[in-house]
């Protein structure tokens, strides 16, 4: 009988073991990811759980980087000469691109000269761009960086290129090199290149071309200012209403000179100023915050023509200050103490940018996983601030045990709190040994409305403090150890420690509104009732959201938040 019972017991134990093993296998299978060619939500090459894979697509129980079909590489598009990195093979093939593990030679960049402009692109893209602009392909493979490429256009000589067209002397503004490629039919009917006149405008009377001054203006490609056009449609000098035909003495020396020779922007009206909104001068300066725009889009009008220098600076931003075009700055105007380890619940960092007279708000990552950093540089035009969202490096703060490591801003974003300890305090010497705690400068936000994780995190701030009392001759108790644990200051310090860990404790939301509960709990247990404590009584305090405060030996005061 006993033997049968033993056998039944063994059988039941066996079944239990098998059940547990199979349960763990099932849970492991649930969490195992596969490389899925396409997910149910239509995304390609994702490492997801098998249930998220679309039906009938390839999947392999390995990371996508290890598969043949989803291996990332460079995708080259022969049509437009573009190269995209980190593209899965099947995505590239589906889009009729050419995939390779490493960047193919076609993706090598060179300098594409497009008239008076340049682009640092691949050869195929250069051909496309040249064709679209009606230019001959001029690709310089020997130029291997973008700056040198841009300088190619800036260093080239510009001037009037005079050529014969339909028995007339026509002209266009171009570089010496481009002019040499311009063919014109001469009197003999044979073709010859145009004649180049450096720094001359097509409207120069001495050139005798059909082009003359006009009151039309334009925004020239790659230039900041408003420019006059001549009657042939060539870009002339910067717009100055005093030099417009009909407003100036067309026989005057200044007028003739202005329409005959190319002028540098430093030689014309409003040099060194932004001239934003000026009706009479088109000498815009992008670095000073003005740029050529159609008058209609700006809501202003120029004395002559339809273009004006638009003001790109922001006159009044959210914080009431004026900012320059391109300036960016950090904003954290939520309630709470940002940067002091007590950020409010739901708060985050924002980067503000002033662009084209508008203030753009760019939020950094939510849950304070990014913080905004900024600095100011001194320029001739005054201070210029630059900001960026950067990863919040709070992760290893609590692992630091000394103030120097904690404050190493090259490695982490933490702050050292003197005289504060995480965890249970049993005697005074312990607090003396570790005289502070390293905490995140901007604690991360938590999804406290989901799961149990937040409770576990906040429970790290639970503290038990054993206060020792000594009973006097006449029964009077005198505090002997950890007496500070009985003060309001101690409770405040511990509740703040909760907030230092994340969205825990008596915190407020980003609007400054308190929660409907205190956020922590202080429990005092008198150990005098406990048999272990005979001549002393103990008090232990604990803090931390969701902590389960047990009754420690001796008696406790506990706080939970």
């Amino acid at each position: 009988m006993i033997k049968i019972k033993k056998q039944i017991m063994l059988l039941m134990f066996g079944i239990l073991l098998i059940s547990l093993a199979s349960l763990s296998m099932v849970s492991a299978e649930v969490n195992v990811t596969v490389c899925c060619e396409r997910t149910t939500s239509g995304l390609y090459c994702q490492d997801v759980v098998a249930s998220q894979c679309a039906s009938g697509v390839k999947q392999a129980p390995t990371a996508c980087v290890s598969t043949s079909y989803c291996k990332p590489g460079t995708c080259y598009g022969a049509n437009d000469g573009t190269c995209t990195d980190n593209t899965p093979q099947m995505v590239c093939n589906n889009k009729k691109g050419t995939w390779s593990v490493n960047s193919p030679p076609q993706c090598e960049l060179g300098c594409c000269l497009l008239g008076d402009q340049a682009a640092f692109v691949s050869l195929v893209r250069c051909k496309n761009l040249s064709s679209a602009l009606g230019l001959q392909t001029n690709y310089r493979k020997d130029i291997t960086d973008e700056v040198s490429c841009v300088l190619q256009t800036q260093n080239s000589e510009k001037g009037a290129c005079v050529y014969e067209s339909e028995f007339q002397k026509s002209c266009r503004i171009t570089s010496r090199g481009e002019c040499a490629k311009t063919s014109s039919a001469n009197a003999n009917g044979t073709s010859e290149s145009g004649t180049f006149f450096k720094d001359k405008l097509c409207s120069a009377p001495e050139l005798g071309t059909i082009c003359g001054p006009s009151s039309q203006t334009t925004c020239a490609d790659g230039q900041d200012g408003v420019y006059f056009l001549d009657t042939c449609g060539n870009v002339a000098n910067i717009y100055d209403s005093a030099m417009a035909p009909g407003r100036a003495d067309t026989a005057g020396k200044d007028f003739l000179d202005y329409w005959a020779n190319m002028k540098d922007r430093s030689e014309v009206c409003g040099a060194g100023s932004a001239n934003a909104g000026s009706a009479s001068c088109g000498n815009c300066n992008y670095l000073l915050g003005s740029y050529c725009r159609p008058s209609k889009s700006v809501g202003a009008s120029a004395t002559v023509g339809e273009y004006i220098c638009a003001d790109l600076n922001c006159k009044k931003t959210q914080d009431g200050t004026a900012k320059k075009h391109g300036e960016s700055w950090c904003v954290w105007n939520d309630a709470g103490n940002t940067g002091k380890g007590q950020n409010s619940v739901g708060s985050r960092f924002f980067k503000h940018v002033c662009v084209n007279g508008q203030e753009i708000v760019e939020p950094c990552a939510d849950y304070r996983q990014e913080e905004c950093i900024q600095d100011t540089i001194r320029t001739a035009g005054g201070a210029f601030s630059q900001a960026a969202c950067r990863v919040n490096r709070w992760q290893d703060c609590v692992a630091q045990t000394d103030a120097i490591d904690c404050g190493n801003t090259d490695k982490r974003d933490c702050l050292w709190r003197e005289g504060v300890t995480l965890g249970t305090i049993t005697n005074t010497s312990q607090t003396q040994e570790q005289n502070g705690t390293c905490l995140p400068k901007n604690p991360p936000g938590l999804k406290f409305w989901e799961g149990e994780q937040t409770k576990q995190i906040c429970a790290q701030a639970n503290t038990q403090c054993t206060v020792v009392f000594q009973k006097g001759l006449f029964g009077k108790e005198t505090c002997k150890e950890n007496c500070e644990c009985l003060t309001d200051a101690w409770v405040k310090q511990k509740s703040e420690l909760c907030m230092n860990l994340g969205d825990c404790g008596p915190n407020v939301n980003w609007l400054g509104t308190k929660g409907n509960r205190l956020g922590y709990k202080v429990t005092t247990v008198d150990s005098a009732a406990a048999p272990a404590a005979s001549s002393t009584s103990g008090t232990t305090a604990g803090t931390g959201l969701g902590s389960t405060l047990g009754a420690p030996l001796g008696g406790t005061t506990g706080a939970t938040s």
Binding site: S41, L43, C75, T84, V91, K95, A132, R293, Y367, Q386
Partner: protein, 253 residues
């Protein structure tokens, strides 16, 4: 002597008449046909017909990441915005979902406008017929190509119109001013940056391209919504990306 002069004069007159005739035929053979004294260009007619249609289609594609019916998308402000780069995991740069943003935009736009272009070509035929021409035509095939500062629509619609004489059109080309090329090129560059480095710095683009404005919004799940706009033409392109995102709290790997 007088006879010789007379002959020369007759030859000159004949030559002038011939020249006028040749020039006349040449002008007639060009696509400009006069309807009751008013110049009529089939390309202008098609441009007027297609432009409003194509602009609304561009707007649809532009706010949905270049797709008429996005599959991998995020819903943001009631719009389905396609992910052009995405990774479901945390801490890693995204995997490119659309390597050729511009080509895809061209293809999607071509598909969207096919029927509308056919309708416009039909209208053109009817317009010719109304003017007394007999029109014979074949099927219509259209394609869109985006180039710097312009958008081209090539319409292959072989058509012969006959009234006294015949004129044959093989294809029409409609061109529109557009800055969408620059906008899409910047989108492509941002996607590449996201795929390689995990994130992109929008301020740099805005400083290099004075007419471009980029709005970047980071959602709670790590999704980034980019909106690239041309401040002068008001053309814009919106797309989504998710990469190098961080989980909330202490969920370390």
């Amino acid at each position: 002597m007088k006879n010789k002069r007379g002959q020369v004069a007759i030859f000159i007159i004949i030559a002038i008449v011939l020249v006028i005739l040749i020039v006349g035929i040449f002008l007639y053979q060009r696509e400009i046909i006069s309807f009751g004294g008013k110049a009529f260009s089939p390309e202008s007619y098609l441009k007027d017909c297609i432009t409003p249609e194509i602009q609304s289609d561009i707007a649809i594609l532009a706010k949905q990441g270049g797709y008429a019916s996005p599959t991998g998308f995020v819903t943001y402000k009631d719009e389905k915005i396609a992910y052009l780069c995405y990774i479901s995991e945390f801490y890693k740069p995204c995997v490119v979902q659309e390597p050729f943003v511009r080509s895809n935009f061209e293809n999607e736009l071509s598909k969207l406008i096919t029927n509308k272009v056919s309708a416009c070509v039909d209208n053109l035929k009817r317009e010719y017929e109304r003017k007394g021409y007999s029109v014979s035509s074949a099927g219509v095939v259209s394609s869109v190509s985006i180039a710097p500062k312009k958008l081209n629509i090539d319409i292959k619609a072989p058509m012969t119109i006959t009234k006294d004489t015949s004129q044959t059109f093989k294809q029409f080309n409609v061109q529109m001013d557009s800055q969408i090329y620059t906008v899409l090129a910047i989108a492509e560059s941002i996607v590449n940056f996201e795929a390689v480095y995990g994130d992109s710095e929008t301020t740099v683009y805005m400083q290099f391209y004075p007419n471009i404005m980029i709005e970047k919004n980071k959602l709670s799940d790590g999704t980034k919504i980019y909106k690239i706009s041309d401040v002068v033409t008001k053309e814009s392109f919106t797309f989504a990306s998710r990469g190098l995102s961080w989980p909330p709290g202490y969920q370390l790997r």
